[in-house]
């Protein structure tokens, strides 16, 4: 009887452990490119109406990996230029591997502060090499008010940074 109980407890414990591992397993999604330079920095320059939200996005990523994203200075080579444009469509912002992040004023001007910050943080994520991920992540493709890095965002950033 005692032995049966032992086996049952072990099986139950194993199942619980497997469940918790499944819950905490992160979904890593990275692109084939990033705008990080050979020194593992992302030096940005340019101007935007959404600079304060962009800076909040910079802080969000730098809180996780300090000093990676920097404003371009005289002794660094610019990796990405930011700018704004106006077009009626569903694009909030985009990142091109040629080295640009563009924000669409048509949509951005109608967004809440959290949504603007989400868009800026999301585009920075692309520049860091992250691909789209699940709902609840900064890297979810559709507009949300999430402004905090999820476990998926962090794991994807680690994977992109360490490649």
């Amino acid at each position: 009887m005692k032995n049966h109980m032992k086996v049952l407890c072990t099986l139950l414990g194993g199942a619980l452990l497997a469940c918790s591992m499944r819950v905490h397993a992160s979904n890593v999604a990275i692109m084939s490119w990033s705008l990080l330079d050979s020194g593992k920095h992302l030096d940005w320059d340019g101007t935007s109406e959404y600079l304060s939200y962009f800076q909040s996005g910079v802080d969000t990523w730098n809180d996780y990996k300090p000093g990676v994203i920097r404003q371009d200075s005289w002794n660094t080579i610019e990796d990405v230029a930011i700018s704004d444009y106006y077009e009626q469509n569903s694009v909030s912002g985009y990142t091109d591997k040629a080295g640009m992040i563009c924000f669409n004023k048509y949509n951005m001007s109608r967004y809440s502060s959290a949504e603007k910050q989400h868009t800026c943080t999301h585009e920075l994520g692309h520049a860091l090499g992250l691909a789209h991920n699940q709902f609840g992540d900064i890297m979810y493709a559709e507009l949300t008010y999430h402004t905090v890095l999820s476990e998926n965002d962090k794991a994807s950033y680690d994977a992109s940074y360490n490649r």
């Binding site: 692109m31 340019g46 444009y85």
Partner: protein
């Protein structure tokens, strides 16, 4: 002896030349096939046909009749090791003939112009396009999700904004194959569209009811 040596040298030289041209041809075609995908964030779920239909001003099938030209927008200057470099986003102007209006009513009798985000980069080295989008080919039929701009022009941009369709010729007229699975999804999405509340413009190609 001297003759055979000469022949040997000539054969070797020919082989080197052929090899050089083969490498060159391979390199050229790999540049032509290079596609760079733009990544973005979107105001709607761009994988949901209901959201695509509800957000667009016009949804229609059309045959591509020509390429009118390339436009380079959103220029920025970026420093590189070799100096400053201009970066732009390419757009392509297509002439199209609307086959069937699904949402909105655009003219079908004459060709109209639609601008598509994406095209050949300004330096001519690569094709740039949004993720999960296609650049239309002349003579083929597509569904377009189009947005009227303030000047009345039409723009199609972003993932799934242009979808290739199978077509058939019926009584000498090109028609979309009704059994096409993409066409069915687009129609179903339109019938259950999630309308977006946003400021809209009107196309200069729209026909008044």
């Amino acid at each position: 002896m001297r003759k055979s040596l000469l022949i040997g040298v000539m054969v070797l030289a020919s082989m080197i030349l052929i090899g050089f041209f083969l490498v060159l041809i391979n390199k050229t075609s790999s540049i032509e096939n290079q596609i760079s995908y733009i990544e973005g964030s979107y105001s709607i779920n761009v994988d949901d046909f209901r959201a695509l239909a509800g957000d667009a001003d016009y949804v229609f099938s059309a045959e591509v009749t020509g390429i009118e030209g390339y436009i380079y927008k959103n220029p920025v200057m970026i420093e590189t090791v070799t100096g400053a470099k201009r970066i732009t986003t390419p757009y392509t102007d297509y002439s199209i003939r609307v086959i069937e209006n699904i949402k909105g009513k655009l003219q079908t009798e004459d060709d109209i112009i639609i601008q598509k985000a994406g095209g050949i980069s300004e330096d001519g080295k690569i094709t740039v396009i949004f993720e999960r989008d296609v650049l239309p080919e002349i003579g083929k039929t597509y569904i377009f999700y189009a947005y009227a701009q303030e000047d009345g022009s039409l723009l199609s941009a972003g993932p799934n904004s242009c979808l290739k369709l199978a077509n058939e010729v019926n009584n000498g007229k090109k028609k979309v194959k009704a059994a096409d699975s993409t066409y069915k999804k687009v129609l179903d999405g339109y019938n259950h569209q999630i309308e977006t509340d946003r400021p809209r413009s009107k196309s200069k190609y729209e026909i008044d009811e």
